[in-house]
């Protein structure tokens, strides 16, 4: 039996009422975001590409594949990835110690983590060089062991690890703080060993944050200039980083050459960051977090 509803004229459900969103401000937000991004990021980057476009393809290729330049890519990207990886491991440990344990001076150490952010990079470079040079505090002990840090690729790595440290710690820390100790207790009561709990329970949960920290540390390391040039010694084919190659070109008033190398750097960095993002999306999907 039909219910005795009052026979209201059916309102046409189409056209008339414009669709509305429950959360306001979408247009404003999108417009603002695009405008701001263009102004701050896209336009300067576009200028790099435009300037580079003054070169012919052959000239461009000559500039960006010069042996010295190629060597610098290898050093810059290789050491940046390595430094980010080292930071991922030790940053996670540091974050873990800061979150899980209380010890005297914890607040102080917590504050120290941010110092590489605050320190002018040149100061960091000079102090690292002073430490690791042949006659430096640490260098004098390492030198007899056959380990040369300053003016070698290893020196570049040390500087990049130093400046990238805060990223991993600060991205992983809040995730670890949220991590319920009950999860670890549950894993242990199910018979998991300590490392199994870490590998199968803790790591999957912090992994996305760890990856973000890794990406940030990597991005920072690729672009780093100030702290590296002092300790690297800038020996052609050995310890020249790509940003230095760009500066060198600029100093020779070879603006197009500089932007050409910058273009390559940009593209490579962008590709690597895209891969990291893809990896993040993939893990999120695999672990049911993408809803």
């Amino acid at each position: 039996m039909a219910t005795a509803a009052p026979s209201l004229p059916l309102r046409p459900t189409s056209s008339a009422a414009p669709p509305f969103r429950v959360l306001p401000g979408f247009n404003l937000t999108l417009g603002y975001t695009l405008g701001y991004l263009s102004l701050i990021v896209l336009i300067p980057l576009a200028a790099v590409f435009l300037k580079t476009a003054e070169l012919t393809l052959a000239e461009f290729w000559n500039v960006v594949t010069a042996p010295r330049v190629v060597a610098s890519y290898k050093l810059s990207f290789g050491m940046s990835l390595l430094a980010a990886a080292i930071n991922a491991v030790f940053g996670l440990m540091l974050a873990w110690a800061l979150v899980r344990y209380s010890f005297p001076g914890k607040k102080l150490i917590d504050a120290l983590v941010d110092l590489p952010f605050a320190l002018p990079t040149a100061v960091a470079g000079i102090s690292l060089t002073a430490l690791y040079a042949k006659n430096g505090w640490l260098g004098q002990f390492l030198e007899p062991l056959g380990i040369q840090v300053a003016f070698k690729p290893l020196g570049v790595l040390v500087a990049l690890v130093f400046i990238g440290l805060p990223f991993v710690v600060r991205t992983v820390q809040p995730i670890l703080e949220d991590l319920d100790t009950e999860l670890e207790e549950a894993a242990t009561s199910l018979g998991a060993q300590r490392w199994q709990t870490f590998r199968h329970v803790i790591l999957p949960i912090v992994f996305p944050a760890l990856l973000t920290g890794f990406a940030l540390a990597f991005a920072r390391a690729v672009g780093e200039y100030g702290s590296v040039i002092f300790i690297a010694g800038n020996i052609p084919m050995v310890s020249e980083i790509t940003p230095l190659m760009i500066i060198t070109k600029l100093e020779q008033y070879d603006y197009t050459g500089a932007t050409a190398i910058a273009t390559v750097m940009l593209i490579l960095s962008f590709a690597l960051l895209l891969i990291i993002n893809g990896l993040q999306a993939w893990t999120a999907k695999r672990t049911g977090r993408d809803r």
């Binding site: 207790e185 242990t188 009561s189 199910l190 018979g191 672990t287 049911g288």
Partner: protein, 365 residues
């Protein structure tokens, strides 16, 4: 497997969580640890599991001292109040976790694991959720998965920490019945912690009542409900009326009133608190002032099977509230109405001497 705890003591700073607790949990029984929050019941459970260590005392599993045994070797299944499911794993992987973590030599093959997981998921009636993630499940489903996960390692004991605490009333009731049935099928020695007296009485074979780090009473649900051993238990299990009074002759003096009662074992003039359940009180309309406690009817709630009468004490018992449960016929017969002055006459009274009573009054309030 049987569980015994011997003289367990646990201190958190200045706070004594457990004070010399000794208990026996016989094989195959489902025992409830019942008490108000902060009474130490969860701490005791965690000590039995090995998640926490006692300052003194022993935990015996099957007669063997397990105090030095690590959690992972105790073979206890632990179910947490907030499920503690691994949210990055599917339901299947959650249940399989314990089996996959076994040392290589003892680890079953993936095929055996899959069989076992599906068997357990069938047991908790959630086989169809195997590929979901915990965030896609309801609270009740999550807790059943957590239970299946704990059972997967074939624990010798099952420990449940407020397993239904985070669920809504309807689901809680359903799961209660389900847990009872599961226990009857599996007969694993189980201990569950709860602050819900109804839950404890309904599900458990035996109930251990705890308060402020002490055990107040141990018994079957029937025993503890019908014969509370201490004022605390009286106050904690079900609603109760209490009268402060003094032993006088054959009875009890409450303010200006007198209650006839066969007082035994208490000296004349002893300060006591007397307890009576709502159904153990009767209302007299025309009684003379010789017997019963004077009270005024405040409200009559007659919508259930039985009628509930709420009264305010007068004549010495002022400021006190009473609750009486009567049949509706009785209410009609007495022709009660609100504002009426009546006398309360207990059919049964339990007396406790004052030093005890002071604590009970606090709990009953």
């Amino acid at each position: 497997m049987s569980i015994q705890v011997r003289n367990i003591h646990k201190q958190f700073g200045a706070f004594t969580a457990l004070d010399d607790i000794s208990l026996d949990f016989p094989t195959g029984e489902l025992v409830a640890l019942l008490g108000p929050s902060g009474c130490g019941k969860t701490t005791l459970l965690r000590i039995i599991a090995g998640l926490e260590q006692a300052d003194a005392g022993q935990v015996l599993l099957d007669g063997e001292d397990a105090s030095g045994t690590h959690v992972r070797d105790r073979q206890v299944g632990f179910v947490f109040q907030h499920y503690a499911l691994f949210r990055h794993m599917t339901v299947f992987d959650n249940v399989a976790f314990g089996m996959r973590m076994k040392p290589r030599g003892q680890r079953p093959s993936e095929k055996q694991i899959a069989e076992k997981v599906h068997e357990l998921l069938n047991l908790v009636q959630l086989d169809w959720l195997a590929d979901r993630f915990p965030s896609q499940l309801s609270g009740g489903q999550r807790q059943r998965i957590a239970l299946a996960r704990a059972l997967a390692v074939e624990p010798r004991v099952l420990l449940l920490d407020e397993p239904f605490g985070a669920l809504d009333a309807k689901v809680r009731k359903e799961l209660r019945r389900w847990l009872r049935k599961l226990h009857e099928d599996l007969h694993i020695t189980s201990i569950f912690v709860t602050h819900d007296q109804e839950e404890a009485l309904e599900v458990a074979d035996r109930v251990v009542l705890m308060n402020q780090g002490h055990v107040e009473q141990i018994g079957t649900p029937e025993e503890v409900y019908r014969h509370p051993a201490t004022p605390f238990v009286y106050g904690f299990l079900g609603s109760v009326n209490f009268f402060h009074g003094r032993v006088e002759g054959e009875g009890l003096r409450v303010g200006g009133d007198h209650l006839h009662h066969g007082v035994q074992g208490l000296g004349q003039g002893a300060e006591v608190v007397a307890f009576a359940r709502p159904h153990e009180l009767d209302i007299m309309v025309d009684g003379d002032a010789g017997d019963g406690v004077a009270a005024r009817i405040n409200r009559i709630l007659a919508f259930g099977v039985t009628a509930r009468v709420e009264l305010d004490g007068i004549n010495g018992a002022t400021g006190q509230h009473f609750e009486v449960e009567l049949t509706r016929e009785r209410v009609a017969q007495l022709d009660l109405h609100e504002g009426q002055s009546v006398r309360l006459l207990p059919s049964r009274l339990s007396l406790f001497e004052q030093p005890h009573a002071a604590r009970a009054a606090g709990a009953a309030r």
